[in-house]
Structure formats: structure tokens, C-alpha cells
């Protein structure tokens, strides 16, 4: 099994903050893993350590039966010899080389013959729709074309492990959608392990077979996407995944609402520090017919649905409604909570399991 095994990885860039803090994880073979987290959480550093572009201060990294790094034995495999594919946010296409030269560079390093290079190039050219671009320079290509060249360059040497560092963030939203499906198809067709770094939770949700949410150098939760969304293990994960963000209700400050939710979830209120409600888990009903009454503050139609800002006893929260709102601004309505979208977190910001 060529799984990636990280053991007690520590990486410090000097200064007080620790980039990666005693990280241990196994990424199984053939998975499409997303490292998701805010900037500075250590996700790119983790990726670069797997690539060998950074060396951990201590810990071990294994890939299958190969040791990439071990501070126990002092082994360190050079990046050049790790046989992996890496794609940068900026693509890092060499501006002084043509598309062809860029793509066959890796094969050249392996001293492949001209025929082999041409054969592989033709395959990739077809796969990524790069016909007619052979002699162009990267600056003569559009953003989407550059990205396809970068993908082709990475895949030319048929690596069994692909590392992608926010490769979609430089694209406009249409192209991004297209590229997402391209990447997904790619993963299905070549079946290799992909580790993908992003801060965009939407990207992670749509692409990954498993998501690792990182915070302050640690993985807070690693799970299947829907599991992450439906059962966030911590307040951080709950807040980070989902858009609009989950509504957070402090059980001490937002009195009425907290009382209502603790009843609904059948949980002791003093056990809970924060409640969380997904915006789509609330339904607007007529006044006095729901769990609690509210005032409509704002209505923002997005086309597909409505984002409605409501005020419940002084606390402003957002809900998403796929039906048109039953009132207008300043109207009084009732709110019904769907229990599966309501969560409670203890004083350590960890989820309290429902019983």
C-alpha cells in the first residue's frame, strides 16, 4: 500500500508561532485528500514537507515503503528522487520555455528518448486540449490554458502521488468550475493519490474524497466531506465549513435563543458554551407557529434562494430559504429549527454528542 504516513511532524520557522505542530496522520492510497484551513494554518507547509521542499524539524514521513524523511535515522530523500507531481498556485511555468519544452522537462531529466517524449506529449496534448500550443510561450496563453499546461507538465512523468497547492485560486469562477470537474475526472481515471491544499471550503467539499481541516498546525478533523459538514467535531470546523457561515449562539449572552435550542436538542444548557445552527436548517413559519419568534431585518435574493437576516431577541442571524420569504422587512415571523442542523459545543469548543 502506498499510503502517506506522517508521524509527529514538527516544523517551526523561527519566532513564536509553530507552523506544523506534532502532526500525525495517514492519507490512504488513492484518496483525494483536501487540506483545508485558513491562511497560516500550516497546510502548505505540510504539503511542501511531503514534497521535500521543506525539511521538518523532527518527525517522520513515509510514502509506501519509502522513507521520505526521518529524524530518527537521518534519512532524507531528495525532492528530485521522490517521483511526485507538484502544482503551484502560480503554476510556475518556465517563461523561457515553450509549452512543449515545459511539458517534456521531466522526461528529459529521466533521459527519455525523443520518440518517447513526443509520444507522451501527444497523449497529454490530446488529454488537455493543447493542440496548436506546442511552440507557444506561457505568456501567450490564457489562465486556463496555462493551468492545463501545468497539469500536463506534472503528469508527464506519471507520478503516483500528486500534490496541488491551491491550483484553482487564480482562475475566474467559470473556469474554476470547469477545472474542478477536470480534476475530479483526472482522479477517477488515473486513480493516484492526490493531496490538495485550499482555503476554499467549497472547493474542498466538491473535490475531495476526504477533507482534513487544519488549524494552528494541527488537523482538527479528517473525514468524508458530508461527515465534516453534518458532524463537525469542533467549533472551528463547524464555522470554517459552510457558506454562509454557521450561526453561533453563545449560551450565556443570547438567553432566549439558547434556552429554546437546549430544549429542542434536549440538552442541559449549562453544559453548552455555544450552539451552532446551519442557515439552511431554519424554516420561516407564521408568527407563534415555530419554535421561536423573530423579526425580518434584511432580505438578499441570490437568484437560486434567499438569504434572510432575522433578529431573535436582539441576536441577528442568517437563514437560507429556498422558498420566497413569507414576509418582508420588519415583519414578525416564527422560526422552526431542524434538529439535524443544530449543534452544541462545550467549553473546549468540542462538539457535544447527541444522545
Amino acid at each position: 500500500m502506498s499510503e502517506i504516513k506522517l508521524k509527529s511532524i514538527i516544523k517551526n520557522f523561527g519566532g513564536n508561532s509553530i507552523a506544523v505542530d506534532n502532526l500525525s496522520e495517514i492519507f490512504p492510497d488513492g484518496e483525494f485528500v483536501c487540506l483545508l484551513g485558513p491562511s497560516g494554518c500550516g497546510k502548505t507547509t505540510t504539503l511542501r514537507m511531503i514534497a521535500g521542499l521543506e525539511t521538518p524539524d523532527s518527525g517522520e514521513i513515509f510514502y509506501g515503503d519509502k522513507t521520505f524523511f526521518s529524524s530518527k535515522t537521518g534519512e532524507l530523500t531528495k525532492t528530485e528522487n521522490r517521483n511526485l507531481g507538484l502544482m503551484f498556485q502560480s503554476y510556475a511555468l518556465w517563461p523561457h520555455m515553450t509549452v512543449y519544452k515545459n511539458i517534456v522537462f521531466g522526461l528529459e531529466m529521466q533521459k527519455k528518448s525523443l520518440e518517447e517524449k513526443n509520444k507522451r506529449y501527444l497523449e497529454l496534448e490530446k488529454l488537455f486540449h493543447l493542440e496548436n500550443f506546442r511552440d507557444r510561450y506561457p505568456s501567450e496563453l490564457s489562465g486556463g490554458q496555462q493551468q492545463r499546461v501545468a497539469l500536463a507538465r506534472m503528469l508527464a512523468i506519471k507520478p503516483s502521488l500528486l500534490l496541488l497547492d491551491e491550483p484553482l485560486s487564480n482562475l475566474d469562477s467559470n473556469l474554476r468550475l470547469e477545472m474542478r470537474s477536470e480534476l475530479k475526472r483526472l482522479h477517477q481515471s488515473i486513480g493516484c493519490t492526490i493531496i490538495f491544499v485550499t482555503h476554499d471550503q467549497m472547493e474542498a467539499m466538491t473535490l475531495a474524497t476526504s477533507i482534513a481541516v487544519m488549524n494552528k498546525g494541527k488537523i482538527e478533523q479528517i473525514d468524508k466531506p458530508m461527515e465534516i459538514y453534518n458532524n463537525p467535531k469542533s467549533l472551528f470546523v463547524a464555522k470554517f465549513v459552510g457558506s454562509p457561515q454557521m450561526n453561533i449562539i453563545n449560551s450565556e449572552i443570547d438567553n432566549e435563543l439558547a434556552l429554546c435550542l437546549s430544549k429542542k436538542l434536549n440538552i442541559e444548557r449549562n453544559q453548552v458554551k455555544n450552539f451552532g445552527i446551519r442557515p439552511e436548517s431554519m424554516k420561516m413559519v407564521q408568527q407563534n407557529e415555530g419554535d421561536i419568534n423573530a423579526n425580518i431585518e434584511t432580505i438578499q435574493p441570490t437568484g437560486a434562494d434567499w438569504i434572510v437576516g432575522v433578529n431573535i431577541f436582539g441576536k441577528s442571524i442568517f437563514l437560507i430559504s429556498s422558498d420566497s420569504p413569507i414576509g418582508k422587512e420588519n415583519d414578525k415571523i416564527g422560526i422552526f429549527f431542524k434538529p439535524e442542523g443544530c449543534h452544541s459545543f462545550d467549553s473546549n469548543d468540542l462538539r457535544i454528542l447527541k444522545n
Binding site: 523561527g14 521535500g52 529524524s71 537521518g74 531528495k78 518556465w94 522537462f105 529521466q110
Partner: protein, 605 residues
């Protein structure tokens, strides 16, 4: 006990093993360390040596006084500041330097500001060309203006051919021909393009919206300039002021050519005569004073820039200011701008060229023109061969190309190497040290630095041989002096490329040398060419740095022109300067070709 000991040993070996494999993959640390060692010697050693020279007895003085060679002494400090000769070697030159710097800087500043405003913001005729033409004086060697002045205004006080005015029957008075007035004017004319450049760029950076807001309140052009634009230019003005003062203090050619006949000495020429009379203790003391002034000016500049940082406006939408209409002033201002160009750029060229083409100065009859001074045939009243046949000129030409050429190649590559080490080792001691030390020579005026090198390499020390009198010394001193510019541009070039292109190669299996040769070098090709041509241009016109280090046989074109002047061969000196001018112009054209930009943006040194 024993087991923990062996454990420690084990982990030390493992640590070493990791470090070693990292080093093999990325030998940047190795490159950085080698650079640190080389630069420490080339930059710090001269500075240490000059400080020690200022307080230790020379061999000659030790013999005279019966003390030991190298003994600690206040003798030289005393001689410079408080002896019977200090008036002559220090206090009067200091006063003169201050006077000349003050007037030269004032004129340069005002000219620069007025011309920059006219060219960037008004509709004077030919503004498109003036932007380029007004920078030409900056590219001429500093002695061009001075020798042109001398050729024009010299009177019978000094030997050699007649001045042009004199040959028309007008004898210029001494105050017009030599001394503070011509020195100030010539320096101002050489250095105003610097002010012009800085003001132009500051003016074009001011957000046009700031002015538009004012005009919505009813402010007229005059009010906008006095209330908004000029106050915003205060930080630039301070910078121009301080940097121009620093430059004028370090200038050697102008005071040497125009001050010597009137016995008008500045600090730079006083330092030079101390070098000529082998007074190394005094040389050290004056050089230290010059450097301290330089450091002080730089510190003030840094302080000013920081203090006025709140004046820095965040760029707007990059809309160009509409040239304001000058109305009836359009013609007079146009004439003014073009006259400045004529006097400062075209004038010297014409005067120098004419003087080499006329057998007798001032005689404009057709038969008087000829190439005598160039070919050496039929030269009236001179025992020298012409420029094309003079062995001295040919040697100097070869030397200039050899020295400026090798210095600029070494400097360019060193700059990129330093840039590589600094950028790729962020946060390390090596990176910080390299950044600081490569900037250090910037603090010392060329003259002071040359004096330091003179004292360091006059004798052999350890494995390093005595280099005085050799071409290598001249190359070395040029490399180190231009290093601040080279390393800064190297650092910014490396910053622009970033590590990704290299890392992308690494992932695909390219080793260190492979990455350097197939990825980094091609990417930095044009940066390297610029990093070589810029110091080459500066090196070709360099005088103050090399004038004390040259010996017969290692003369450069610039120093050779000074020798010709010393002997009264004005025409030969002028012709030599013209050659330098032509070489520099060609280099600038090549540079423009390579960078495809206006040179106005690129001239550093």
C-alpha cells in the same frame, strides 16, 4: 551515563546526516558562506586598515622620531586638526567644500525641480525629447564639464593652448575661469539630472485625484502647486538635497581641474595631494572624516524618509496629469529648458570636439580645421603623437575596457549570487549579514575607499600579495565599490523570480546545477546583462575612485585625460574624454535595446 552519552553522539550524527543531505540538495548555504568570507575581507579589512593607519606611526615617521614602526600615535589626527598645516590641509578645504557643495546643490535642486515640473506637467515644446536629453549630462564623465569650461574660459595663468574666449581677444577674469564659481556651476550642471530624475518620478507618482479634489473646491493651478504638489515634494527634496551634497563632496575631477590653478582646494583634492606626498596617516584621517560625513548624510536621509513616510500617497488609478497650458510663458520656458540642455549636454560636447579639430583655438577659417590632434600629423607646438597613435591612449583604452569590463562582469555575477543567497536563505544570519555588508561600501565616498584599499594592499599580508600597481587592484576596488548597487539589483531580480520555477524543476527531477543552468540562468539573462552594463558605464567614467591607485602602465582613459591636462595638452585630454563619452553613449544604447525601457529609470550610480 555511558548510554546517554552514546545516545547524544548518535543524535549528533543523525543531525549531521540530515544537514549534509540538505546541503547536497540545496547548496545555497555553501555559496552564502563562501560569499561571507570573501566579502568580509574585501569590505571590512580596508575599513579596519584605514582606522588603524590613522593612529599608527608609518615606517618613515618612526625612523625619523626613533620610535617603533606601527606604534600608537595621535600625531596624524593632530596634524589634520590642530597643527600649523591643518589650516591648509583640512580647515580651508573643509570650508571650501561646504561653500561649493552648498551652491552646487542649490543650483542643481532648483534646476531639477523647475525642469521636472516643466517636462512632466506643462505643454512646453519638445517635452517628449527633453525627458531623455536632460539626463545626458549625468552620463558624461564628470571631468567633461570641467575641461569644457577650461577650454572655453581659461586665461594666461596656466600653460597650454589658449582658451577659446581669449583667442577672440576677451581675457576672462580669474574668478570666472577658476575657483569656486566655475566649480559650483560645473558640479550643478553635472548633478542636476539626478534631481530632475527624482523629481520627475515623484511628480508622476502623485495621485492626480489629490489635485482634482482641490480643483473641485475652486483651487487654480497656482494654488494647487503651492498648496498640494510642492508640499508633497518635500520628502523628495530632502533626499535630493542630501544625496547631491554627498556626491559633490566626493567629486574629484571638477575641483582638481578648475580649483588647482587658483590654489582652491576642497577636501577631495586635499586628500589626493596627501596621497601623492605619501602621507598615509593624514590620508587615513581625512578619508575617515569624509566617510563620517557620508554616513551622517545617509542617516539623516533615512531619518527624513521615515519621518515623511506619512506623505507617501497610495497610488491612484495611474491617470496621467493633463499638461497645463502655459500661455504666453510657453515660449520663454521652452527656450529656458533647451538652453539648459545646450549648456549642460550639447555644449561640452561641441566645445570639446571643436577644440580637438582646430589647430589654433578661435581661428574659424576653414584651413584651420583638421584631424591633426587625432592622427598626430602636423601638430603645432607639441611633441606628442595624436590620439590614434599615442601609445598612452591605446594602453589606457585597453586598460579601461579590461578593468571596467572585468569589474562589471564580476560585479554583475556577484550581485546575482548575493541576491540568490540572500533571497533563498531568508531569516538566516548569512542572509542578513550579506545584505548589510554588501551595502557598506555605499557609505564611503570613492576617494576614501580608494585610500583604504591603498593602505591595505600596499604591502603583502599573509597569503594576499601586494597588489598596488596592478590591474587586479583596480578591478577589485571597482567591484567592491559598485557592489551595493549590484547586490541590491540582484536581490530584487531574485525576489521577482521567486522559488517556484526552481522548485518545479526539483520536483521533476532536476538537480542543483541543472536547475541553475536550465532554469535560473535563462530567467535572469536580462537582469544579468543590465547588472553588467550599468557598472560598466560607471566604471568607464570613474575617476575619483581610481585616480590614486593608478600607476604608469595601469592608467585608464579617465586618469590619462587628467595626465594630459597636467602637462597642458588640453586637446588630447578633450579627445580622450570624447572617447569615453562615445563608449558610454554606445553602452547606454545597448542597455536601452536590452531593457527596452528608457534609461531614465535605470541609472543608479
Amino acid at each position: 551515563m555511558i548510554s546517554s552519552n552514546s545516545n547524544n553522539q548518535n543524535s549528533a550524527i543523525i543531525n549531521f546526516k540530515i544537514k549534509f543531505s540538505k546541503l547536497l540538495q540545496q547548496p545555497t548555504i555553501l555559496i552564502g558562506s563562501v560569499l561571507v568570507i570573501i566579502l568580509s575581507y574585501l569590505v571590512i579589512a580596508p575599513i579596519v586598515s584605514i582606522f588603524s593607519n590613522s593612529v599608527s606611526l608609518t615606517m618613515m615617521d618612526a625612523m625619523l622620531s626613533g620610535s617603533k614602526d606601527g606604534e600608537f600615535t595621535y600625531k596624524y589626527i593632530d596634524r589634520v586638526f590642530a597643527s600649523s598645516v591643518s589650516e591648509k590641509i583640512f580647515w580651508i578645504p573643509l570650508k571650501n567644500s561646504i561653500t561649493v557643495s552648498f551652491f552646487a546643490t542649490l543650483i542643481a535642486l532648483v534646476l531639477g525641480l523647475i525642469l521636472a515640473s516643466l517636462v512632466t506637467s506643462t505643454n512646453i515644446f519638445g517635452r517628449k525629447y527633453l525627458g531623455f536629453l536632460l539626463i545626458i549630462p549625468y552620463m558624461l564623465p564628470s571631468q567633461a564639464m570641467a575641461t569644457a569650461w577650461l577650454t572655453m574660459f581659461k586665461n594666461r595663468k596656466i600653460s597650454g593652448p589658449q582658451g577659446m574666449l581669449e583667442s577672440f581677444g576677451v581675457t576672462p577674469p580669474d574668478w570666472l575661469a577658476y575657483g569656486p564659481l566655475p566649480i559650483s556651476i560645473c558640479m550643478a550642471l553635472s548633478y542636476f539630472p539626478f534631481a530632475f530624475l527624482l523629481f520627475s518620478s515623484a511628480l508622476s507618482k502623485i495621485d492626480i485625484q489629490l489635485e482634482e479634489v482641490a480643483s473641485t473646491f475652486g483651487a487654480k493651478t497656482k494654488a494647487i502647486w503651492s498648496k498640494i504638489i510642492l508640499p508633497l515634494l518635500i520628502p523628495t527634496t530632502m533626499s535630493v538635497l542630501l544625496l547631491t551634497v554627498a556626491r559633490t563632496l566626493g567629486t574629484f575631477a571638477t575641483p582638481y581641474i578648475l580649483g588647482t590653478p587658483a590654489k582652491y582646494t576642497l577636501l577631495s583634492t586635499s586628500l589626493y595631494s596627501s596621497v601623492r606626498s605619501n602621507d598615509s596617516g593624514v590620508v587615513a584621517v581625512i578619508a575617515i572624516v569624509l566617510s563620517l560625513i557620508g554616513v551622517m548624510l545617509l542617516l539623516v536621509d533615512i531619518w527624513v524618509v521615515r519621518k515623511w513616510q506619512r506623505f507617501v500617497t497610495v497610488g491612484g488609478k495611474g491617470i496621467k496629469r493633463q499638461p497645463s497650458k502655459l500661455g504666453i510663458f510657453r515660449m520663454p520656458t521652452t527656450i529656458f529648458a533647451w538652453i539648459i540642455f545646450l549648456i549642460a549636454a550639447l555644449g561640452p560636447f561641441i566645445v570639446l570636439a571643436l577644440s580637438t579639430l582646430m589647430r589654433e583655438p578661435g581661428n574659424f577659417s576653414f584651413s584651420n580645421f583638421g584631424l591633426a590632434y587625432w592622427t598626430g600629423v602636423n601638430v603645432p607646438g607639441m611633441d606628442q603623437p595624436g590620439i590614434f597613435t599615442s601609445p598612452e591612449v591605446i594602453t589606457a583604452l585597453k586598460n579601461s575596457f579590461l578593468i571596467a569590463g572585468s569589474a562589471s562582469i564580476i560585479c554583475g555575477m556577484l550581485g546575482l549570487l548575493i541576491g540568490y543567497a540572500v533571497v533563498r536563505l531568508p531569516g538566516t544570519l548569512i542572509s542578513g549579514f550579506l545584505r548589510q555588508i554588501s551595502f557598506l561600501p555605499y557609505l564611503m565616498p570613492g576617494l576614501a575607499f580608494a585610500a583604504a584599499y591603498l593602505s591595505l594592499f600596499a604591502v603583502s599580508r599573509g597569503p594576499i600579495p601586494a597588489l598596488y600597481g596592478s590591474i587586479s587592484l583596480l578591478i577589485l576596488v571597482m567591484v567592491v565599490t559598485y557592489l551595493p548597487y549590484a547586490s541590491r539589483s540582484g536581490i530584487s531580480a531574485m525576489m521577482q523570480v521567486g522559488p517556484e520555477p526552481e522548485e518545479a524543476g526539483m520536483v521533476l527531477g532536476a538537480g542543483f546545477w541543472r536547475r541553475i543552468t536550465t532554469i535560473l540562468a535563462p530567467l535572469q539573462k536580462s537582469a544579468l546583462i543590465i547588472a553588467i552594463i550599468l557598472p560598466f558605464i560607471t566604471g568607464m567614467k570613474e575617476l575619483s575612485l581610481v585616480v590614486m591607485l593608478v600607476t604608469p602602465g595601469t592608467e585608464l582613459l579617465t586618469t590619462q585625460s587628467i595626465r594630459f591636462l597636467d602637462f597642458g595638452y588640453t586637446q588630447l585630454a578633450n579627445a580622450t574624454i570624447l572617447i569615453i563619452g562615445v563608449v558610454v553613449m554606445i553602452s547606454v544604447l545597448i542597455l536601452n535595446r536590452v531593457t527596452k525601457t528608457n534609461l531614465a529609470s535605470g541609472l543608479g550610480g
